[in-house]
């Protein structure tokens, strides 16, 4: 019928596009029927298995599905897949990611762009808040960069904030290494359909990730980013990771759902600790308190994966010049949370004019950064003291 999807895959994909068919119901149906029969069942052309029949009795699901399971739905799915070159992996198939197959609740149908081979290496999930501080963003892309350089696949959700910066780091590593050896590929796990870019401004990032590695989603093409899809996405993200790193997170939110999913699966969770003053680090500090190992540099993640960390050390070099004693003192005082010029003057007691010179100098050396009026100390390792 077509080159991109087999009949089986198309039937399964169409099933997943039916209304109110969550991963659980889909799994149940595909457990008792092969995809093409299942499609015939929901269309009313075949006799359902007893369990499936009972399922279809619930809340008039069967009728709803029968009304929606049309040829045009199938053609629509096929068209979208062709247009955005979206492939399908069924749980019964060979190319289905092995790490998902043994999961406690694997998606029966997986849509993907790019190459799933990207997952055939060591895998680290990186997650965090959407409103990150500058040092959180730097730390994320730095860690992701180092991981990719060490051949570790970085998995992230492609949301705003930390997620996006993780992939920025990976893509940068691929750019840098393309001459000699290829750095590990990025993998994005998204909540909406693969042809529905969300957030919109990440269109380039989606494309680049799909080109360099793979983009994975459980939702059929065209599915909008509805709220219920995000926790489901987080479960896949956790399931794909061997180690989950939380960079910056508030004490509630999507990142914490992913952490719960990871803990259900006995996956190691690492957290990047932050200053107690920094609200964006409240969640990660809480995780550290609860016993998660802290991440100070990339070695910690590599060790958690059981990898050799010697190569990483070559890259974990801070090229910034050492600071004079007085500057180092000031940096040590201000490190942690973002601050305004006001706070700087008040906390350090340096007169305003001198403070201006001091911050100007530190900015030129790359020790602080100014974002819309808020300053932040950028730290790697402990070089400032």
């Amino acid at each position: 019928m077509s080159s991109i999807l087999s009949n089986e895959q198309l039937a399964a994909a169409s099933l997943s596009a039916l209304p109110k068919i969550g991963p659980k119901r889909l799994t149940t149906i595909l457990k008792y029927h092969d995809p093409q029969t299942a499609w015939a069942v929901v269309q009313g052309r075949a006799k359902p298995h007893v369990v499936v029949a009972a399922l279809m009795q619930e809340n008039g699901l069967g009728q709803m599905w029968r009304a929606n399971a049309t040829l045009s739905l199938q053609q629509q799915i096929l068209g979208r897949c062709k247009k955005a070159s979206i492939h399908v992996a069924l749980i019964s198939e060979e190319n289905y990611p092995r790490c998902l197959k043994n999961d406690i609740s694997p998606p029966a149908v997986l849509f993907y762009q790019g190459d799933l081979q990207a997952l055939a290496t060591r895998r680290v999930g990186m997650i965090g808040t959407r409103s990150a501080t500058a040092s959180g963003r730097y730390m994320t892309s730095h860690l992701a960069f180092e991981l990719a350089m060490n051949g570790v696949c970085v998995i992230s959700g492609l949301a705003r904030g930390i997620d996006a910066w993780a992939h920025h780091g990976v893509l940068r590593a691929r750019e840098k290494k393309s001459a000699s050896a290829i750095a590990a590929a990025p993998v994005g796990v998204v909540a909406s359909g693969l042809d529905y870019v969300y957030p919109k401004e990440h269109a380039d990032l989606w494309r680049n990730v799909a080109q360099a590695g793979a983009l994975v989603s459980e939702s059929p093409p065209g599915a909008p980013p509805e709220a219920f899809r995000f926790p489901l996405r987080n479960r896949i993200l956790a399931a794909l990771s061997e180690v989950l790193v939380v960079v910056e997170s508030k004490d509630r939110g999507g990142s914490m759902i992913t952490v719960d999913e990871a803990q259900k699966r006995d996956i190691t969770v690492l957290a990047v600790p932050g200053s107690p003053r920094n609200i964006a680090s409240a969640g990660t500090n809480m995780l550290v308190q609860q016993g998660c190992l802290p991440v100070v540099n990339v070695d910690d993640i590599l060790v958690a994966l059981g990898l050799d960390n010697r190569r990483a050390n070559d890259n974990s070099f801070d090229p910034r010049p050492r600071l004079a004693e007085s500057d180092a003192h000031v940096v040590a005082m201000m490190v942690g949370a973002p601050f305004t010029l006001d706070e700087f003057v008040m906390r350090t007691g340096v007169p305003l004019l001198e403070a201006a010179i001091c911050l100007g100098r530190l900015e030129a050396l790359g020790w602080v950064i100014n974002n819309s009026g808020w300053w932040e100390v950028i730290e790697f390792g402990q070089r400032y003291s």
Partner: protein, 520 residues
Amino acid sequence: MFASVRSATLLGVRGSRVDVEVHAGIGLPGFTVVGQPDEVCRESRDRVRAALLSCGLPWPTRRVTVNLAPTGDRKSGACLDLAIAIGLLAAQEVVAIDALANFAFVAELGLDGSLRPVRGATPLVLALTDRMAVVAPENLAEASAATPAQVYSAKNLRDVVECLSRRADWQCSKSFDLNSGESTSLNRDVGADATALNSRDLADVQGQPVARRALEIAAAGAHHLLLVGPPGAGKTMLAERLVGLLPPLTDDEAISTTMVHSSVQLESPNAGLIRRAPYRAPHHSSSMVSMVGGGTALMRPGEISLASNGVLFLDELGEFAPSVLDALRQPLEQGIVRLARARTSVVMPAKFLLVAATNPCPCGEGTPGVCTCDDAARARYLRRFSGPLLDRFDLRVAVSRPNTNELLSPERGESTSEVAKRVANARQIAFARFKCANSALTREQLDAVAPLSKKAEQRLRRELEAGHLTGRGYHRVRRVARTVADLNGAPEVVDDAHLNLALMMRVDLASGLRSRELVF
């Protein structure tokens, strides 16, 4: 019979002379006003008639034509009432026509014949300096605020007739002399809450060293100021305290400001010359016309003219209609606003110091990590301010909430009077150079008076190469740095420190949204 009486009407913030010509001739009794009167002006017929009869003065039983010359301009308002009444009396020979030659009349009439105050007494009388102006008693102080001539007044129409016939004496204003000590008794502040504004001292501001310094620089160099900060950071509090730092108005400024304020009539009966910088804080729902001025016939001055020589404070800058904000751009450059309508065009002063306050983002917090807005929402928010408008703020300062220690600290900051001294000093240095504030220095003047030290030059070069500064921004930074240096007693060379502070008071609101080259 025919009589001609001098009066004036208001156009924008200036008075323009009007000759009220009255002709009472043979024909059916009737009364027509010609010469483009507006509705209020045409209704004067009924007021004048009632006033004359109330005072026991005759109403002509002939055909009366009143012509308002020059006929080409539109006349508005009730300020011609008294002139029409006097004209009618002269046409009936109740008052001698010769007696009117030196007089001009500017007042509204009540039905009982009393003289009522009118809007714009100051500019109206200023347009009639060659005559002896007669105004309502309540207008006397306001009318004589800016004119060198004496101004006369009487209680009602009857008294005016008596005085004209020399059977009674006029009520006179004190003669006005800008340089005499006496005129200070007439000096006044503007607005209903002027006294409240006076009592607002900079010493009340706890902490906020940067914002304080920004106010000082803004006042000293007339640099427009944008305060960015979360709710409760004290942005409004700071803006209100800026007027106190400005020096008293010069004579020319005082006259121009008094004229503007008089023409919208905000004044109390004992009003005099405005000597203190005005402070205006229009609400963000203000319309375009209320901000820049206008109207169909009468071209009323807007908030920007009312704030002329003082401070215009726009709180919640992002909530103002974009069209209103962009309309400020031309007045900001030129110091005047030129309004044209089909029938008229006027020029009004608009030399104000713009202070605006805004939240950094929709949630208001701004602090990275605390702010709950995503980048897209923040970008949308920032799109409300056009680049050219933001560019006109020489000073853009992040203001943070004072913390508990500062709030509870019994220590008071520097008071307004102390800071105002430094400001006055710096202004003096600046005006001694080119007779203008530092913000108005041209490029050539800048090169002459603001040479950069070697270090400062390096710093600027770095900013320019990094793309943080545009060509225009470069000059603006140098102007601010000039002011900082003036305030710090360095009238010659602009040093590294001055420049750094100028750069730091130029927050780029969008810089947090740009992804930058990463440092590894």
